[in-house]
């Protein structure tokens, strides 16, 4: 007759032989086995079969032992390094402050030195909370800049050494030295912080899996689905050839920016690229240059890796609305066809899209722009 308790005792000895000796762990696994057996018996199995299958499902003892041996990401390290960082930051700031107070200085020197110390303190204490620190393009740029700066580091150390040994004496005055030291401290501590956060993975999530290839943090905003998507796009033959070309270029811009929709921003970029001299000059009279506008748009939306060109993204509701406004603008100017400048006015009139935002940010106003394009 099968005895569950005896079977469990035998199983515990087997596990102990395989290297799982902790009574706590064995208790827990035994509790699991009892639960599993109970449930299967309730479902109609006999105890022995239930026990065998429960053991099976637990996995081979050797694999279990190996799994228990995987270490946790050092929990203490996660606390230690931030504390270490702040301790170093405090030392750097206090050392700066102390020299500032101890040395005999003029009021102007004190003021400039104080500013340097304040800037250093702001940077060191605020850095972990700056949004760009936690990933994205800015962080990549920072790392690149630090690599470049790293070349200067040996020079700095060499110079300090020579000064300390009194072989070289370069008197650049107190304030420049203080500023240099502050920059040096900020640099060193940023390197330290980068090292710490790389060790821990972003956000310290501490998975035992190798980190995935970094995922871009910002995601283009999700656009609402119908009913906005039902707004009709004016038929192709209601545009002038140049305006049609502008829409083709809008598609190209969307794909170049890796977006899966054609929004007002892409239409605006398309208009800019296809625009004739008249439109370009009109915009320049409003102090808008093509490249500034492009930069402003790329600041507002997150560019993604470019996409293959075979696919035509849909026009967003706002872009559709803007094209309807463009038609209205053309009609108001008694123009039979929609010209690029009408599209531009439509984009501005739509008012809430990225294009309108970018144009407004650059100081373009609908009324003023409208006056540029008199009725025929």
């Amino acid at each position: 007759m099968f005895n569950l308790n005896q079977a469990l005792a035998a199983w515990r000895r087997q596990m102990a032989d395989a290297g799982i000796t902790s009574a706590q762990v064995l208790d827990e696994l035994e509790s699991h086995l009892r639960d599993a057996v109970e449930e299967q018996v309730r479902a109609g199995a006999d105890t022995e079969t239930a026990f065998d299958s429960a053991i099976q499902r637990l996995g081979p003892p050797a694999a279990l032992r190996a799994a228990f041996a995987i270490p946790a990401v050092a929990a203490r390290g996660r606390r230690f390094w931030p504390i270490f960082y702040y301790a170093c930051a405090a030392v750097a700031i206090l050392a700066d402050l102390a020299t500032l107070i101890v040395l005999e200085l003029s009021a102007a020197e004190r003021a400039i030195g104080g500013c340097a110390v304040a800037a250093l303190a702001w940077y060191l204490l605020r850095r972990p909370f700056l949004p760009w620190w936690h990933g994205g393009l800015a962080r990549a740029r920072l790392l690149a800049a630090m690599k470049a700066l790293g070349i200067l580091l040996p020079l700095w150390i060499l110079w300090s050494l020579l000064t300390a040994l009194r072989w070289a004496h370069l008197d650049i005055g107190f304030v420049p030295t203080l500023i240099l030291w502050s920059v040096f401290a900020a640099y060193g501590l940023t390197v330290l912080a980068c090292g710490i956060s790389d060790r821990q993975g972003s956000g310290g999530s501490g998975s035992w899996l190798p980190p995935l290839y970094p995922v871009p943090v910002s995601i283009p905003p999700r656009r609402p689905c119908p009913p906005g998507w039902a707004i009709a796009v004016p038929p192709a033959d209601s545009f002038t050839p140049v305006a049609r070309q502008a829409l083709d270029l809008a598609r190209e811009e969307a794909l170049r920016l890796g977006h899966d929709f054609i929004g007002t921003e892409h239409v605006l970029l398309g208009v800019l690229r296809s625009a004739g001299d008249a439109l370009g000059q009109a915009l320049e009279r409003h102090q808008v240059r093509g490249d500034t506008l492009r930069r402003e748009i790329e600041r507002l939306v997150a560019p993604w890796p470019a996409r293959p060109t075979s696919f035509t993204p849909p026009l967003t509701p706002r872009a559709r609305k803007a094209l309807q406004f463009a038609r209205a603008e053309a009609a108001a100017l008694k123009d039979p066809l929609i010209r690029p400048e009408h599209v531009l006015l439509g984009l501005l009139r739509e008012g809430s899209g990225v294009a309108a935002l970018a144009l407004r940010n650059l100081g373009v106003q609908l009324k003023a722009l409208r006056a540029e394009f008199p009725a025929i």
Binding site: L29, L58, F68, G203
Partner: protein, 115 residues
């Protein structure tokens, strides 16, 4: 190690910790119940090899994400119950952000197929 023909091994491994954190966020639980709950919620698509859950739980406890206590179950037997700690909630939040990012990208990419 993990049942094939369901989810791929790597995906199961990567989702184990966030799943445990999410389950424990709903309240204290023990190993066997966690396994059953995941199986039920995934319609048997995610099936952990039972034994492999416990090393993960212990590691998460050492990380300081969860805590455990032995308690008498209604059946009179002892069971080890786990519950979320403050660091665990933080880890869960971060995991949610990361999985949200991945799922968002997929949603965008797969949307293209029907527009």
């Amino acid at each position: 190690m993990y049942s094939a023909a369901m989810l791929i091994k790597e995906l199961v491994a990567a989702s184990t910790e966030p799943l445990i954190l999410s389950l424990l966020a709903q309240g204290e639980s023990y190993g066997y119940a966690l396994i059953q709950e995941v199986k039920r919620r995934s319609s048997d698509q995610i099936e952990w090899t039972d034994g492999m859950l416990y090393p993960v739980l212990h590691r998460m406890e050492r990380e300081g994400w969860i805590q455990s206590r032995w308690a008498q179950a209604e059946t009179g037997r002892k069971r080890k119950y786990y519950s979320l700690k403050r660091d665990g909630r933080k880890a869960l939040k971060e995991q949610r952000r990361q999985w949200g990012t991945v799922s968002n990208v997929f949603r965008q990419l797969w949307k293209e197929q029907y527009v």
